[in-house]
């Protein structure tokens, strides 16, 4: 018969179970998600470099149609929408799809971490990356001569409506991303998320206006969340008033995709 081997010093295996405080779990989960996101090269490319490159390219190469004001006024809202789209939709969907296929979500499901805290951690990480993106894009925009509202006071007054649209857009795209990642295989999610990114980029009024599209296509595109977010931000940041129709489009997409994702999401 085996005799119990003495435990290694510092490794007391005797039971002492207790979950960490909720706040500590949330901080740990958020920081892990943030670190992993910023470590993925393709995710940094997608979330930081592509929006930045589009902003620089289209603001210096004159390919935009005449008569719609300075190109930078058109571009900054567009790339802000693209930043939200890439982080909360494409990046989140791909990462979640692979986490699911590697059993990370199942593993955490067997830990004291409540699902709500897991989702909150993911959300905070997405918002954290978006803060980085927005700061970078707005700073570059200013450097390129962007001056929303024509004065600092006018610019500041646009902040609340801008934040509302950014948060609503994040909720909407995150729900769509999780809907995909929770139902499809990781490889299928990867392909579909990139495909939809391209569709949203072209039909989203991001680097060229919807008016450039054939009118039938434009009418469909107006109902897609990418255009609602990009044009909505543009309305706010060019002083055209609060775009309530676009807010409704985003909200409807967010609720529908959210409900569907909650019903269909498979953790394994």
């Amino acid at each position: 018969m085996t005799t119990p081997t003495p435990a290694v010093p510092g490794l007391d295996l005797s039971p002492s179970p207790a979950a960490a405080p909720m706040s500590r779990m949330l901080v740990a989960q958020t920081l892990l998600e943030l670190r992993l996101t910023l470590r993925r090269g393709e995710s940094v490319l997608l979330t930081l470099l592509i929006p930045l490159a589009l902003l620089l390219f289209f603001s210096t190469v004159d390919v935009l149609p005449e008569g719609s004001g300075p190109p930078i006024d058109f571009l900054v809202p567009g790339v802000l929408a693209l930043a939200v789209l890439s982080t909360s939709f494409t990046g989140l969907a791909i990462a979640t799809g692979f986490e699911r296929s590697y059993g990370a979500l199942k593993r955490l499901g067997a830990s004291p971490l409540p699902r709500g805290v897991l989702l909150a951690g993911k959300t905070l990480a997405v918002l954290g990356v978006e803060v980085l993106q927005v700061a970078l894009l707005v700073a570059v925009g200013f450097a390129l001569g962007w001056n929303p509202g024509g004065s600092t006071a006018a610019g500041v007054s646009m902040v609340p409506a801008t934040l509302l649209l950014l948060v609503l857009g994040t909720a909407c795209f995150a729900a769509l991303g999780l809907l995909m990642a929770g139902a499809l295989r990781a490889e299928a999610t990867l392909a579909a998320a990139n495909g939809m990114y391209l569709v949203f980029l072209m039909l989203g009024g991001i680097v060229f206006p919807l008016s450039q599209l054939p009118s039938a296509v434009a009418r469909v595109a107006e109902l897609l969340p990418a255009a609602a977010l990009a044009e909505g931000l543009r309305d706010v940041l060019t002083g055209a008033g609060m775009p309530w129709a676009k807010v409704v489009v985003l909200a409807v997409w967010a609720v529908l995709a959210g409900l569907l994702a909650a019903r269909t999401f498979r953790w394994e």
Binding site: T2, P4, A7, S14, P15, A19, G103, A110, S111
Partner: protein
């Protein structure tokens, strides 16, 4: 019973028309290692995943630490450590990050670095999980299961695919968990693992328990055994049987090799050698063969345990 960590009775689970578990009952106690032993598809993983709260039972009663796992909350999860059969990590996270993360979710965790050293994982602390070898993933899974200092751990095939050294490190850790009062419920299809580690073995086949008990009880069951010896061909087996107790059988098979079956005790061995002596026969290679868990399993199920 106060020290019962897992109590399952009459568990039934089907997937469509496939009946994975058909009326299974088992008990696992604190401070003991309980092994669920059975071939692939026997219902081991289904049973364990129901106990872990990942799947719902169709019927039957399941109590894990006194609670129905289907109603598991965060506090219950902290008392239960789970090692998944495959995966269970963020592909881009480093092995050390995963262990530290699970430690951060517990209030009084083990020192993650000491635990990794203990399991031979120190050298892969900074390696991305998706680049770990199969054996390293297994040990990482074990580390993740125990780092929160649970009172019950579920280990699904903890040594599948491990080399000898890693297997030993795993066995030692499981032994220490038991000595520390932790209840361990593991699944395996490795006989020697169950025989060596387990206080209680539950043999499962076709979704039901076919036998249970300590390894010793199971292998001694019925005290049946066999005695084999080599001698010149053509001995009179019927005459030999006359010298042995009722209920014993003897055959020459193949020629020159004799097999006696029955209750093999010292008296019987003496009777066989005495008969040989009176007939001037020199018996060689006399061997008493005891049953192993593998024999028990083959008798009970008629199927091979290993794939």
């Amino acid at each position: 019973m106060s020290d019962a960590a897992v109590e399952v009775s009459d568990l039934v689970k089907s997937y469509g028309r496939v009946h994975a578990v058909k009326g299974l009952s088992l008990l696992a106690r604190a401070g003991e290692v309980t092994a669920l032993l059975g071939p692939n598809g026997a219902g081991k993983t289904t049973t364990v995943e129901i106990c872990e709260g990942f799947r719902r039972a169709d019927s039957g009663s399941v109590r894990v630490l006194g609670v129905d796992p289907a109603a598991a909350d965060s506090e219950w999860r902290s008392r239960v450590g789970v090692m998944l059969q495959t995966g269970g990590f963020y592909p881009g996270a480093r092995a050390g990050e995963m262990v530290h993360h699970l430690a951060a979710l517990a209030r009084h965790p083990l020192d993650p670095d000491a635990l990794m050293e203990r399991l031979g994982l120190s050298s892969v602390r900074r390696t991305a999980c998706r680049r770990l070898s199969g054996g390293e993933r297994q040990r990482l899974g074990l580390a993740l299961a125990v780092v929160g200092r649970p009172e019950l751990v579920f280990l699904d095939e903890p040594t599948a695919g491990l080399d000898v050294q890693a297997r030993r490190a795993t066995w030692e850790l499981i032994g220490d968990l038991r000595a520390s009062g932790v209840a361990v419920l593991l699944t395996t299809h490795a006989m020697d693992e169950a025989e060596r580690l387990a206080d209680a073995v539950v043999i499962i086949d076709g979704g039901t328990v076919v036998a249970s008990g300590s390894p010793r009880e199971l292998t001694r069951g019925g005290a049946e055994g066999q005695l084999r010896f080599t001698a010149p061909t053509g001995l009179d087996v019927t005459q030999l049987l006359g010298a042995l107790p009722e209920g014993t059988s003897a055959v020459e098979q193949p020629p020159g090799s004799y097999l006696v079956r029955g209750v093999i005790d010292p008296a019987l061995l003496a009777s066989v050698t005495a008969w040989c002596a009176t007939h001037g026969v020199l018996a060689s290679d006399v061997k008493v063969e005891q049953r192993t868990l593998e024999d028990v399993f083959l008798e009970l199920t008629g199927s091979e345990l290993r794939r």
